[in-house]
């Protein structure tokens, strides 16, 4: 009984940490897909880039951990802004096939650039001393870094919700998601809104990739390997919402961890079956509105 309880707590805890990272990475994808209707398969590239920026800053230049995280966010957000203006913006009105192909092309290019610079091996993660070790709570040990991950992600999620629900920018985003033409005609500069939102979403992905580097190893195949999971989070949760992907990410995080822990042979089966079932039951996702 004690052992079962202890493993339950452990699975819930690690699943929560994984789910939160998944959410921070994928939420930007949900917003950009909902807002611009753009099928951005290359979203994982931003997460990978965030991981690389943080790890190179720390490992090569000895930048402290908090600053490296911030650098990952800022660098990737700025880079994605350029990319959006130059390339993505031209394809907003194009068909789904073009968007899929274009973003697959981006993945191919980024994979090979990453391999060229960093080689094929996963990047080592050296956490600062104060992030190592365990925290004691109710007689149990919890890895300090995972606790930090969960708390930090919760803070980000809180900020994001506040931003979208309570600020003027958030109201504009929601208006544009609901009815883009109407938002435009009441004078919202949607193309600037798109750029900013895209940059924020990519920055968040970078943050997620950087924070989660210890859980999801940073290597050149990253954007391909984890694409399915990011997409599942968005598709199962529903496009254009913050709430949907949150629950979907936690569900997948906990379910994946539980499967790996108890039935490793069926690890991936459950997730894919659940995805298929949810999408058949509600094609627009759990919290999405029917198209």
């Amino acid at each position: 009984m004690q052992a079962l309880l202890s493993s339950l707590v452990s699975v819930a805890f690690h699943g929560l940490a994984y789910g939160m990272i998944l959410y921070v990475i994928s939420v930007g994808l949900s917003v950009t897909m909902g807002l611009m209707g753009f099928v951005n398969l290359a979203h994982g590239v931003f997460a990978m880039a965030g991981g690389y920026v943080m790890l190179s800053a720390m490992n090569r230049f000895g930048v402290p951990f908090p600053i490296a995280i911030a650098a990952a966010f800022v660098a990737v957000a700025l880079a994605s802004m350029v990319l959006e203006r130059l390339l993505y913006a031209r394809l907003y009105t194009a068909g789904e096939l073009e968007q899929v192909l274009f973003t697959i092309g981006l993945i191919f290019m980024s994979v090979s650039v990453a391999r060229l610079i960093y080689g094929t091996l996963p990047q080592p993660v050296y956490l600062p001393e104060y992030m190592k070790g365990q925290l004691q709570y109710l007689g149990r040990d919890f890895p300090t870094y995972r606790v930090f991950l969960i708390l930090f992600s919760v803070a980000i999620v809180g900020l994001l919700w506040f931003g979208v629900e309570r600020t003027r920018w958030g109201a504009m985003v929601r208006a544009a998601v609901d009815y883009r033409a109407m938002a435009q005609s009441v004078g919202i500069n949607t193309s600037r809104l798109f750029t900013l939102t895209f940059a924020l979403g990519s920055g968040l992905a970078a943050l997620g990739g950087a924070l989660g580097a210890e859980i999801i190893a940073i290597q050149p195949t990253y954007p391909f390997e984890h694409l399915v999971f990011f997409l599942i989070v968005v598709a199962v949760g529903g496009l254009g919402t913050l709430r949907g992907p949150f629950f979907a990410a936690l569900l997948i995080g906990v379910a994946d961890t539980a499967c790996k822990y108890w039935v490793p042979e069926f690890g991936a089966f459950f997730i894919f079956f659940a995805t298929i079932a949810v999408l058949l039951w509600r094609p627009a996702g759990l919290f999405g509105r029917a198209a």
Binding site: L97, L101, F108, V228, A235, A268, I276, A284
Partner: protein, 326 residues
């Protein structure tokens, strides 16, 4: 969908003289470049695979990133049959086709109810699921080590597979010819016309009373069966099945090949794999690091500047020449 498809329903289904050109070239290759026949067989196999994708992507307008599920099913079906029952190639082909067609029918019923992102996700999820099944069912599929060590008997007891790949090449060519004939018939038939209609304007097809869903399921099943046929062909010509045949990367590469050639016009499926695989054979050996960058860059360029692929560029060039000199 706002893809610039050049093809579609054409009133005159007769075979134009230029349509014999690919076959002449393929036969010429057999005599001129005997050392490249194994690569040639692979190209022919991928042409069949690309043709199957063209049927649903180019004509049906269904974007899938999971077509390797059917290719892999066909490949494993043929492989498992050769290990446990018989190495007769034609039986293997039929088995691979039927297995993949069945899977295509069952999954098609399910996924074609959705559209857009949900459909894309479902195709991905189904492929991932198949991959996991093949990965875990090691006693049948060999798992990560792959399935090998089976022998393929002479075709109908007459034509033995030789080590130079001569028989394999001709075998692939004959099978491709049959597939081409079938797909061509389909595309030029009223059924093909209604598929094109679904691609161009789904709502209007519903409005004129066309059974859209049923048409799509049929097309999807045929496409899956053809993909399975290609998979079985690969198994028999290489005498090995690896997990890669079910991988998502293969689906991605396939879409790239088709788009490179030109979507929705049959011959795009011929030219795309040919150019892609020859370039891969040449470049990937010399510059393995740059190969994917190169492919990615080409994809981006195709999307930005040349949506019709290679054949689209050719069309535009010919049209320009006509204007100038005609």
């Amino acid at each position: 969908m706002s893809v610039n498809h050049a093809g579609g329903y054409v009133a005159d289904p007769r075979i134009r003289p230029i349509e014999w050109l690919p076959w002449l070239l393929a036969l010429l290759c057999y005599f001129v470049a005997p050392s490249y026949l194994p690569l040639g067989s692979y190209v022919l196999t991928m042409v069949i695979f690309a043709l199957s994708l063209d049927l649903i992507l180019g004509y049906g307008g269904i974007i899938t990133l999971g077509h390797s599920a059917y290719f892999g099913t066909g490949a494993y079906a043929a492989g498992i049959l050769a290990v446990h029952l018989t190495g007769e190639p034609l039986v293997g082909l039929v088995a691979g086709t039927l297995a993949a067609g069945l899977l295509g029918f069952v999954t098609g019923i399910v996924i074609l109810r959705t559209r857009g992102l949900a459909l894309l996700m479902l195709t991905l999820a189904i492929t991932s699921l198949c991959f996991e099944v093949a990965n875990k069912a090691t006693s049948w599929t060999g798992g990560a080590d792959g399935l090998g060590g089976f022998s393929v008997q002479p075709i109908v007891g007459l034509f033995k597979f030789d080590m130079f790949g001569k028989t394999a090449y001709l075998y692939c060519l004959v099978v491709l010819f049959a597939c081409w004939w079938l797909v061509r018939r389909l595309v030029y038939s009223p059924f093909g016309a209604s598929l094109t209609g679904v691609r161009e304007n789904n709502l209007r097809m519903h409005a004129v009373g066309a059974p859209v869903y049923r048409r799509l399921v049929i097309a999807y099943t045929i496409s899956a069966a053809l993909a399975g046929l290609a998979g079985a062909l690969l198994t028999q010509t290489t005498q090995f099945v690896g997990l890669k045949v079910l991988g998502f990367e293969l689906s991605g590469e396939l879409v790239v090949m088709l788009v490179l050639g030109g979507v929705g016009r049959i011959y795009g499926a011929f030219i795309g794999p040919l150019v892609y695989l020859i370039a891969q054979d040449y470049l990937a050996k010399q510059f393995p690091e740059y190969w994917y960058f190169f492919i990615g860059a080409i994809l981006v360029m195709v999307v930005m500047f040349a949506r019709g692929g290679i054949l689209g560029i050719l069309d535009a060039g010919i049209a320009r020449l006509r204007r100038r000199f005609g």
